[in-house]
Symmetry: C2
Subunit: 217 residues, 2 copies
């Protein structure tokens, strides 16, 4: 499969590297087609890995992963271009974390809106699926790093897109329990979990943790 990755940070590198290892062709996109981190990704992952602009990556991908910082997400997607996203599954991995007032971050969007919803509104013909934003990137691509039946969430308006993402999460990244929260409005729930995630990160002393859901047997 041909996959575009928007963003050159740890999340983009981890997801992009895993997808190449799974046998997919990946283009990592950045603001500038000459971005050094994207070039380094392409060089270190062999012929299946390429680098380009946001538009190059979006045009290349049959599926597009959005792995930018929250503050740069909409700008990156506008640079990618609506035409390059139309009809495609767009997996929104971002969180609207605002570090401008220091740590812990606040959210730049919450409660009555979410970054996932803003993306879907700005690109109505993209098939946006919010997912993976509730775990650190090493866990995103390898659920088995953690024991037991911990959970991943998907939220989005397009059932077929969610099914496609769920299959990729299961077969590619090892997620055995994927909960469909509903439409893209449910991105609020997973994004608003981040303040608790950040504090658990501090309390547990590791980012490699996740939630399991327990219920009466």
């Amino acid at each position: 499969m041909k996959i575009g990755i928007l963003g050159t940070g740890m999340v983009g590198n981890t997801i992009g590297g895993k997808l190449v290892a799974l046998g997919h062709d990946v283009t990592m996109g950045a603001r500038a087609a000459t971005n050094e981190k994207a070039a380094a990704f392409a060089q270190s992952h062999g012929p299946r890995a390429r680098a380009g602009s946001f538009a190059d990556a979006a045009a290349f991908g049959e599926i597009v992963f959005v792995c930018t910082a929250g503050a740069g997400t909409l700008e990156a997607l506008h640079a990618a271009g609506a035409a390059n996203l139309a009809g495609k599954v767009v997996i929104d991995v971002t969180n609207p974390l605002d570090f401008s007032k220091g740590f812990p971050p606040r959210l730049s969007i919450c409660n009555d809106d979410s970054l996932g919803e803003q993306i879907q509104r700005a690109f109505p013909s993209a098939r946006v699926v919010k997912s993976l934003n509730t775990v650190t990137c090493s866990v995103m691509v390898d659920a088995a790093r953690l024991p037991g039946e911990h959970v991943m969430f998907v939220a989005g308006n397009d059932a077929a897109a969610k099914a496609e993402v769920t299959a990729l999460l299961r077969d590619g990244f090892g997620w055995r329990t994927v909960i469909d929260l509903g439409d893209i409005g449910q991105a609020r729930g997973t994004e608003m979990y981040l303040p608790l995630w950040v504090r658990l990160y501090g309390a547990l002393g590791t980012a490699e943790f996740n939630l399991a859901i327990v219920r009466a047997g």
Copy 2:
């Protein structure tokens, strides 16, 4: 122990009933000392259970549980009176859920503040501990209703108060895993988890669920 319960709803009744069953003396308080639900609580739970005003319950309790709806919490505490709360452990079980725009609720306070923080600021000599607000009330008082090592959180500025609450959660309500998130500012994390909780309630078809934390072994 003498315990005051502010609020006459399901949460107050469930916690109050459990505390009576554990051998504590409980006064349930309401806006009016003649409140019928508080009277019914007192009648149905024997001589250890009493009913009164918010001020009566707060004055009675060595520990005070705040079990009101989020929208009425500060008003109830002002009616209880700062002098009746001073120096006491005040367990804030509330969530700032706003149903005025329908279901699912939004939060009336979030991101840069929380209801737990507002309570602590309004009553600086109360020893506020945010806890129990992340599960349905049947699970609050009986963690063993759900299998495994699922978690409860505490947040508050007073370490001794958190230790006292943690002991009550463990010995009274069966909580084996209680995570100290830090100061009362961490109430934001547990309150902002509610939108995800509400959606999981819908997706799972039961309110009797909770989170477990999994981490690399």
